[in-house]
């Protein structure tokens, strides 16, 4: 089975042969439904069994991947800590459950990625950690079903951008020479490819959607809204875009539209902070090159205004994971083996 997993900092995306799974990234120790952790969003209490929470049992501990406001969010661009490995294994387990994969599944090839400029030094710590955890035994529980991560696992670590490039090539959006702009939550990766896959230039700017979340929280507080932790903002934003919470009472009878404040914060951050740095790296590529854009940032930043020629991948948040799945399949067929 060939699986692509994009370990994002706002959401983990996993793509298998038949199914796509998107899950939370906040991490709690134990099980929130019956452990020492109190429910933080009481209105969700009745729906606990229906949440996307994933429970991961390693040899030494039980963890839960969740989007609750009190969870810990790892916002480091270095994806080498245990939280990243747990997110990968949680997503793998949930996808295997969603795929109805059998225990006797043949060897599983998983392709994932690390921030492009940090990939070389960070691949070894993450890869070794994942393999150690799998050897010791990992069990994943999601939506009332349990799966044991198969011990025959092969993990391929690519650069963030590789998945988008591969997906774009299959879609006919990228050629042998293209530049990928991956607008992630914590890092913005810029990778220039030549000769159909050689990484010519690689950059990872430590800026992205998480900065917009912070700016949004600050803007809300300045207008009289509540002062929120990062976790609370992370919890709020998906519900805001889903249309569940769209307005907030500022306390004196006035209400304001949250989406408008968020859009302003995203635009402000992109135009002032992110775009000047990206533009300096792109050079003449900005106007004339074949630029492919993906990542969640492509949905919230006004990229069309500054890069009119660039091609935005369909469903940009999932493009990376889809491409990783394609790379895993190609690797298994022997296409990239030396």
């Amino acid at each position: 089975m060939h699986i692509g997993i994009d370990i994002g900092r706002s959401a983990v995306k996993a793509v298998g042969p038949r199914t796509t799974w998107v899950g939370p990234t906040g991490l709690l120790v134990g099980r929130p439904t019956r452990g020492p952790i109190a429910l933080l969003e009481t209105e969700e209490a009745a729906q606990t069994e229906e949440t996307e929470d994933v429970t991961i049992e390693t040899a030494s501990r039980t963890w839960t991947l969740t989007d609750w406001g009190g969870a810990t969010y790892d916002l480091s661009p270095h994806k080498t800590r245990e939280g990243t490995a747990l997110a990968l294994l949680g997503a793998l387990g949930a996808l295997l459950i969603a795929e109805n994969a059998t225990e006797e599944e043949k060897a599983i090839v998983v392709a994932t990625g690390l921030p492009a400029a940090l990939m070389e030094p960070d691949a070894q710590p993450l890869g070794r950690l994942v393999i150690r955890l799998v050897r010791e035994g990992v069990t994943v529980r999601w939506r009332g079903r349990t799966v044991r991560i198969p011990r025959r696992l092969r993990l391929l670590v690519y650069a963030e951008g590789d998945g988008i490039y591969e997906a774009a090539r299959r879609e006919g959006l990228a050629g042998t020479e293209s530049l990928v702009l991956d607008m992630g939550h914590v890092t913005t990766n810029i990778v220039e490819y030549r000769r159909g896959g050689e990484r010519l230039r690689v950059f990872s700017l430590p800026k992205g959607g998480a900065d917009v979340f912070r700016g949004f929280g600050n803007a809300l507080a300045r207008r009289g809204g509540p002062l929120m932790s990062y976790g609370r903002i992370h919890w709020l934003v998906p519900r805001m875009f889903a249309g569940l919470i769209t307005r907030i009472d500022l306390g004196d009878g006035r209400e304001t539209d949250l989406r408008e404040i968020f859009r302003e914060a995203a635009r402000d951050f992109f135009i002032r902070d992110l775009w000047p740095e990206v533009q300096a790296i792109l050079g003449d590529y900005a106007a004339f090159g074949n630029v492919v854009i993906a990542g969640g940032g492509a949905e919230i930043f006004p990229v069309g205004e500054v890069l009119p020629q660039a091609r935005v991948m369909p469903e940009p948040r999932l493009a990376q994971a889809r491409g990783y799945a394609l790379l895993a399949a190609r690797y298994a067929e022997g296409g990239t083996q030396a």
Partner: protein, 136 residues
């Protein structure tokens, strides 16, 4: 036949276009390619001006109105500079032809997807490979 030498011309051009074109006009192989595309685009501007303008609008319509204009000096073959001046007289600004030429050059650089697994085009390679067993 008498060989025409280069001449230095100055065009008023939006800053974004000037920034993007300057590196192309300086480098050796890129400059040669750009001049080849510029010759074709100048011909199009004289023979099919509406098509060329439509191509420009489709690519940079919204973008073109942004940013301040600046002056850019370029060394061009005399015959090519004359054709651009001729196009300007007929109503198409040289910088629009320059931008279309540079864009066509970039598009030509981006070819169709290559065949998989060929030695020259090996595809994207992983930076790390890990297995729970020696041979899965």
């Amino acid at each position: 036949m008498k060989k025409t030498g280069p001449t230095r011309v100055s065009y008023r051009i939006p800053e974004w276009a000037a920034e993007a074109i300057r590196p192309l006009i300086r480098r050796g192989p890129d400059r040669d390619r750009l001049l080849a595309h510029l010759a074709v685009a100048a011909g199009d501007a004289l023979e099919r001006p509406r098509t060329l303008l439509a191509e420009f609008e489709a690519l940079y319509g919204r973008y073109a109105r942004r940013g301040r204009p600046t002056h850019m000096r370029i060394r061009l073959p005399r015959s090519l500079a004359a054709r651009l001046a001729e196009a300007e007289a007929s109503g198409i600004r040289p910088w629009i032809i320059l931008v279309v030429a540079a864009s066509r050059m970039a598009a030509a650089r981006t070819e169709a997807a290559p065949k998989e697994g060929t030695p020259d085009l090996p595809g994207v390679r992983p930076g790390g490979e890990f297995a729970t067993e020696d041979e899965p």
